[in-house]
């Protein structure tokens, strides 16, 4: 059973785009519910990338020959597509190797540019992925700025009251995730912007953007980071959006070829944004491939994708809520999107995931999901013997109600198997 927003024709197209959905795993149909870690890949995108690699590839920017022109145009066209997608100017779209790199770039550049000094406060939430936590933590040790947190409640939920309360720390920088990769909560970005009108606002869009567009101008975001691989795109590519005036004031992060203006044996000056932040040979084919990916998603219709993920999330939450041997985390209301973290009472998440995979072909993720400190919060609120980790099931637009039903069936089996 499929259900949702897709017409038969659209569904045929989706099925043919994601060939691994026809694969069997351990004799079962593959049910891929690990989308929050990374999504599956689309045939037309991979085919076009292969064509690019084999027939139009060369290094970019610096040469006048035909292949170099073709490659450079393909690369810059991808930047245009992403600029339109985010409602940003071209000079504001920097390609990175991923979300993690984007945040490290910001932290280091802020420190080098004097945008962050001793005594300044950086405000995070307690539900951040390590990518938006550890870079700040370590830099704060070296450079003496302070880190404060917007508190999560016992279910790992960030309430508006907690956001309001945090205004008292007067942060210079607010860096928060648009959606938690553990609790699934979409954070109220508008509310955050209003609560901190003068702070530099950084949004980690890694989880939200794959299924919900973000308009950087409408939300008045200063920086936004995300990864291509979580939205059907190639690995090794990410985007950093930054407001032009801020990018211009900032010292680069990586130094090397193409990002310079003038270099002597004594010092160097730099190119304009975005090039100033793209040192060395970039991941040319990946960027080009991400452009193709965005095109595919837009052809499928971004709004339909958003809607479909919403429908599937609802069905997932409702289905799991009916299993009384599970403990679920996160808000479980309408702000809860695309993924659910849970535990099977008395069974370790690794065992749950392993059995789901081996017996049902269901791919889920088990572990701390790169959010160790949040695990200690969930442990406090937990009514079971919390194993410091959870199982996480996450959907994307190519999943079905059937997939979720198979998960439920699998969980019942797991429960039975381990309680004997």
């Amino acid at each position: 059973m499929r259900s949702g927003v897709w017409s038969d024709k659209e569904w045929e197209c989706i099925k043919s785009e994601i060939p691994v959905l026809d694969r069997t795993v351990n004799g079962k149909r593959l049910v891929y519910l690990d989308n929050a870690a990374s999504t599956l890949k689309a045939k037309s995108v991979i085919d076009k990338m292969a064509d690019f690699y084999l027939y139009h590839y060369s290094n970019i920017h610096r040469a006048v020959h035909t292949l170099a022109s073709e490659a450079t145009m393909a690369y810059e066209q991808a930047r245009e597509k992403i600029g339109r997608f985010l409602n940003a100017q071209l000079g504001e779209v920097v390609f990175t190797s991923g979300t993690t790199m984007g945040i490290n770039l910001l932290v280091n550049s802020f420190v080098r540019s004097g945008l962050l000094r001793e005594g300044d406060v950086v405000l995070l939430t307690q539900v951040e992925h390590h990518a938006n936590l550890v870079p700040w933590l370590r830099a704060s040790k070296f450079h003496g700025f302070r880190i404060e947190y917007i508190q999560a409640d016992e279910k790992g939920v960030i309430l508006k009251e907690a956001i309001e309360k945090a205004t008292s720390v007067k942060p210079k920088v607010v860096s928060i995730t648009a959606q938690s990769n553990v609790t699934g909560q979409e954070l109220p970005l508008n509310f955050v912007r209003e609560a901190f009108p003068n702070a530099i606002l950084i949004i980690d869009g890694a989880q939200l953007i794959p299924h919900k567009k973000i308009d950087v101008k409408a939300l008045d975001i200063d920086f936004l980071v995300f990864s291509a691989h979580k939205m059907l795109g190639p690995t090794g590519v990410g985007v950093l959006y930054g407001k032009r005036e801020l990018l211009e004031r900032m010292e680069p992060f990586l130094y090397g070829g193409e990002m310079i203006d003038r270099v002597t044996f004594e010092d160097a000056t730099f190119n304009v944004p975005p090039y100033k932040f793209e040192a060395g040979t970039p991941h040319i084919a990946g960027v080009v491939g991400f452009g193709y990916t965005l095109e595919l998603l837009e052809n499928l219709d971004l709004e339909k994708i958003e809607k479909q993920v919403e429908i599937l999330s609802r069905y997932l939450i409702d289905s799991l809520s009916r299993l009384d041997f599970l403990e679920l985390y996160g808000p479980l209301d309408d702000s809860h999107r695309s993924l659910v973290s849970f535990n099977v009472q008395g069974v370790h998440p690794h065992d749950v995931s392993h059995v789901l995979d081996q017996m049902f072909g269901v791919a889920t993720r088990s572990g701390h999901h790169c959010a160790q400190p949040l695990m200690s919060i969930l442990k406090r609120g937990s009514k079971i013997d919390f194993p410091n980790s959870t199982v996480r099931a996450s959907v994307y637009f190519y999943n079905t109600f059937d997939d979720i039903d198979t998960l439920v069936e699998g969980l019942k089996f797991v429960r039975k198997m381990f309680s004997e």
Partner: protein, 133 residues
């Protein structure tokens, strides 16, 4: 499936769970990728392991592996335990090993086909290695 009766039973064993107050050696081990942790207590008499216990939490494989390991090393000399360790590691990494030596540890033979679970099996053994170093 790696969840044989043997492994399921050993994962629930309580016999070796606990502290040894006068332990000669206490070693903490952990599996970074899942947060599983084990604290291993060894009581040595000269060169010989005369008692061993553990605390911690983990999945079925790591719990069963810990219990079986402790059962096997009690009474052995350090050198014998290290010899066992080398063979257990070789088994799980798909290298050559001495079947006779391993005895009940052979029940984990299949785990080698699940690379992500190899770490679970190895957790107590890696901890033992550090403890005996």
């Amino acid at each position: 499936m790696i969840y044989s009766e043997f492994i399921m039973d050993y994962s629930k064993l309580k016999k070796f769970v606990g502290k040894i107050e006068n332990a000669t050696k206490v070693e903490e081990g952990k599996n970074l990728s899942c947060g599983d942790e084990v604290t291993l207590y060894l009581l040595l008499d000269g060169n010989r392991i005369v008692d061993a216990k553990f605390e911690g939490h983990g999945c079925t494989i790591s719990q069963a592996s810990t219990n079986v390991m402790i059962e096997q090393i009690i009474g052995k000399t350090k050198e014998e335990a290290l010899e066992l360790l080398r063979n257990a590691e070789n088994m799980i990494l798909g290298k050559e090993f001495n079947e006779k030596l391993l005895g009940p540890i052979l029940n984990f033979y299949d785990v080698k086909n699940y690379p992500m679970r190899v770490k679970c099996f190895l957790l107590p053994w890696k901890t033992l290695e550090m403890a005996l170093k």
